[in-house]
């Protein structure tokens, strides 16, 4: 099950420390072992189930552990926000789900179940067929993400015709429909324009049209609004929300901006150094965050919806190198509360534990300490 495709470098895979020896083997979407993140516990079968996903890269400097054991579930019609700073592994995770890592470089293990179908280790051509059809992705910078030499229409038509056996005319009609749907004025004319003739917001709309042309059931949006102005960002977020309602797809929203996830996400997953430090429903994570890193993130943001504070309360220090991830809890060098844990932070990697219904956190802090710090020290300053 957990193989990284046809990678010739993996001859010694038996001794590969990444391989799970006895991982749970979910049969057709049944979720075993790991805690399941879903607000609808009655649905046993998750549309997308990620189990202990690890993505490591061999580089000249050493092994980069970009993603080091991520698990989550996502249902159709729901939006999962993955939040983290640069290098936290959030984009790598999404590319891993899409099967977009080059097998020669990346070592991937774990499981990704999409609608009951395991993708890690599946036939690459099978995954290719799903890509763009069942799962689609939009990227951060639509100017560099669209090919400068082909018209917007041609690129959408191409996306359509890879997966659907339709004529050019039909695909073109469909492209115009999609451009119209994402709010591009005069789609009949604009379909023949090149990406550089579009404004930033229009390009991102076109990108979304391209991703949705085959009605994917999973849409991954990787920082879709980071390159855009705030008024345009609001338009795009609204568009994604509307489209999700319309198509009922599952959405993964990857961003560093807690404000953006708060707009869209039902569930939230906070990543730090390739691991999940906290996850739960968006409401839980925003109102009762449990991990000191989440506190730090919230404290770093000037809040428009609150009284202005005199000072921000950022996390000290900088994110760690992924080659030399700190021992124990990767966050411990930056954590102000290490002293409360009697040394376990430096040595033991904290398990992701369910601390409240629908709320998981990976932290050594005791429940009492945690609640006290949150209510007495953190919450009043936000």
């Amino acid at each position: 099950m957990s193989t990284a495709g046809s990678d010739p470098l993996r001859k010694d895979s038996d001794r590969d420390p990444l391989r799970k020896e006895d991982g749970p083997a979910p049969s057709a979407g049944a979720t075993v072992g790991e805690p399941v993140l879903t607000a609808r516990p009655d649905t046993a079968e998750a549309f997308l189930a990620v189990r202990d996903l690890k993505i490591h890269f061999n580089t000249d400097d050493g092994l980069v552990r970009s993603v080091d054991g991520i698990s989550f579930d996502l249902q159709r019609g729901r939006t999962l926000g993955i939040v983290g700073e640069s290098g936290s592994g959030k984009s790598v995770t999404s590319l891993g789900i899409m099967g977009l890592h080059r097998t020669a470089k990346a070592r991937i293990s774990g499981e990704v179940w999409l609608d009951g179908e395991e993708l890690i280790g599946a036939d690459p051509d099978r995954v290719r067929r799903l890509r763009g059809m069942k799962m689609a992705m939009i990227f951060q910078d639509p100017l560099s993400a669209m090919h400068p030499y082909y018209t917007v229409g041609a690129q959408i038509v191409e996306a359509c015709r890879v997966h659907q056996d339709v004529s050019k005319q039909v695909a073109r009609k469909r492209a115009i429909e999609m451009l119209d749907r994402v709010g591009i004025p005069e789609p009949h004319q604009r379909v023949a324009d090149y990406p550089h003739q579009f404004s930033g917001g229009m390009r991102q709309r076109a990108m979304i049209a391209m991703a949705l042309v085959n009605n994917p059931e999973l849409l991954i949006a990787d920082e879709p609004t980071t390159a855009l102005d705030v008024t345009v960002q609001a338009q795009i977020l609204d568009l994604i929300r509307d489209l999700q309602k319309e198509f009922g797809s599952a959405v993964i929203m990857i961003t560093h901006d807690l404000g953006v996830v708060a707009e869209l996400a039902d569930d939230l997953l906070v990543m730090y150094a390739g691991r999940c430090v906290e996850r739960g429903t968006a409401e839980k994570v925003f109102t009762e965050p449990q991990h000191p890193y989440t506190w730090g993130l919230l404290g770093s943001m000037p809040r428009m919806d609150r009284e202005r504070t005199e000072r921000l309360n950022p996390v000290k220090g900088a994110p760690p190198s992924l080659i030399n991830v700190p021992s124990g809890c990767a966050f411990h060098p930056r954590c102000p509360y290490v002293g409360l844990n009697g040394g376990s932070s430096e040595t033991i990697v904290p398990e992701l534990r369910e601390t409240a219904a629908g709320h998981w956190s990976a932290c050594h802090l005791g429940e009492q300490d945690r609640d006290r710090i949150w209510t007495e020290e953190i919450a009043p300053k936000l």
């Binding site: 689609a136 990227f139 030499y149 391209m210």
Partner: protein, 328 residues
């Protein structure tokens, strides 16, 4: 278009200045210049006559005007008793053979063109193919081998590979006996057969260069965001490479190709000499060796014409490839 014509004019002025102004600045008199035209049996009268006929006494700008006019509409020259019409484009007469430059030049263009076009086809196809494969299989045995050979190719001059080829294939193994130029209108097969060795030895250098360029371009393009998008759409890798990667990677190659090809039509000097082809390059060498100014001038002008045409073509091609050029 106008810019191209202007540029041609500038080139002509500069070449003219080099050949007519510089010698004067260097202290050469017009008499010495005229002496070269008259040749062996020079006597003061004939020299004076030539000077007058060719207008060496006129101010320089007038001489330049005559030079341009001759190219545009032709000219009448009188050599002592003979009078002759030099039709446009007239580059004058060879000092040495007294033969008109243009007809000679014209007869040599097909030779150089055959050589250049054939070699270009070979080097573009092989260079780009090797470059793409190397980029896709980066770090593989094929990549290292081809880039090693390419490095050798870049460092080996044509006269070396050409001689080597001649030495083995003609003198040692007698696969070819006496490589010589056969016009395509006479016998297309013989034309091609005789050109194989010159083509290959000329293309080798360029092919190596283009392989390296293509590989670098391909590696860069394949790391672009839009390639990731193409893969995310679920395209087959072959289509991603051919349609999305290659087209972008080829843009800089087109520019360089225009330059290289233009230069080559101006004379594949070394190759022509190695294989004793009577092309433009060989003609230029003759002209320079004999200090035969009209020939050198003529070749320079023709070469400049081709180079400028090629870069014009590249600009058009560029706009066809990259829409951003078209609309800016």
């Amino acid at each position: 278009m106008i810019a191209a014509l202007l540029l041609l004019l500038v080139v002509s002025a500069v070449t003219f200045a080099i050949f007519f102004l510089l010698p004067r600045l260097g202290g050469q008199t017009t008499t010495q210049l005229a002496t070269q035209y008259v040749g062996k049996d020079a006597n003061p009268e004939s020299i004076a006559a030539v000077k007058k006929n060719l207008g060496f006494d006129l101010p320089l700008y007038e001489q330049y005007w005559h030079f341009i006019k001759a190219i545009a509409v032709g000219a009448n020259y009188k050599f002592g008793p003979d009078a002759s019409v030099c039709h446009a484009p007239c580059f004058g007469y060879s000092f040495k053979s007294h033969i008109e430059v243009w007809p000679e030049l014209k007869s040599r263009i097909p030779v150089t063109l055959s050589l250049a076009i054939g070699a270009a086809v070979i080097w573009v196809i092989s260079g780009v193919a090797i470059g793409v494969l190397s980029a896709l299989k980066r770090g593989s045995f094929f990549d290292r081998l081809s880039m090693g050979v390419a490095l050798a190719g870049v460092s080996l001059p044509t006269f070396f590979t050409g001689m080597l080829a001649l030495g083995f294939f003609q003198y040692n193994w007698h696969i070819w006996d006496n490589v010589q130029f056969v016009p395509i209108s006479d016998d297309p097969f013989q034309w091609a057969w005789n050109l194989v060795l010159p083509w290959c030895s000329l293309a080798f250098l360029y092919s190596a260069l283009y392989a390296r360029l293509t590989r670098a371009g391909m590696l860069e393009t394949m790391g672009e965001d839009y390639i990731r998008t193409a893969r995310a759409k679920g395209l087959r890798e072959s289509r991603v490479v051919a349609k999305h990667g290659l087209r972008a990677a080829l843009t800089p190659i087109v520019t360089i190709f225009g330059m290289d090809f233009g230069l080559l039509i101006g004379g594949a000097v070394i190759t022509e000499n190695v294989f004793s082809f009577k092309g433009i390059g060989a003609y230029a060498v003759d002209g320079i060796r004999d200090n035969d100014l009209p020939i050198v001038l003529g070749v320079t002008m023709v070469a400049a014409f081709f180079i400028i045409m090629c870069s014009l073509l590249v600009d058009l091609l560029y706009a066809a490839i990259d829409p951003r050029v078209r609309y800016s």
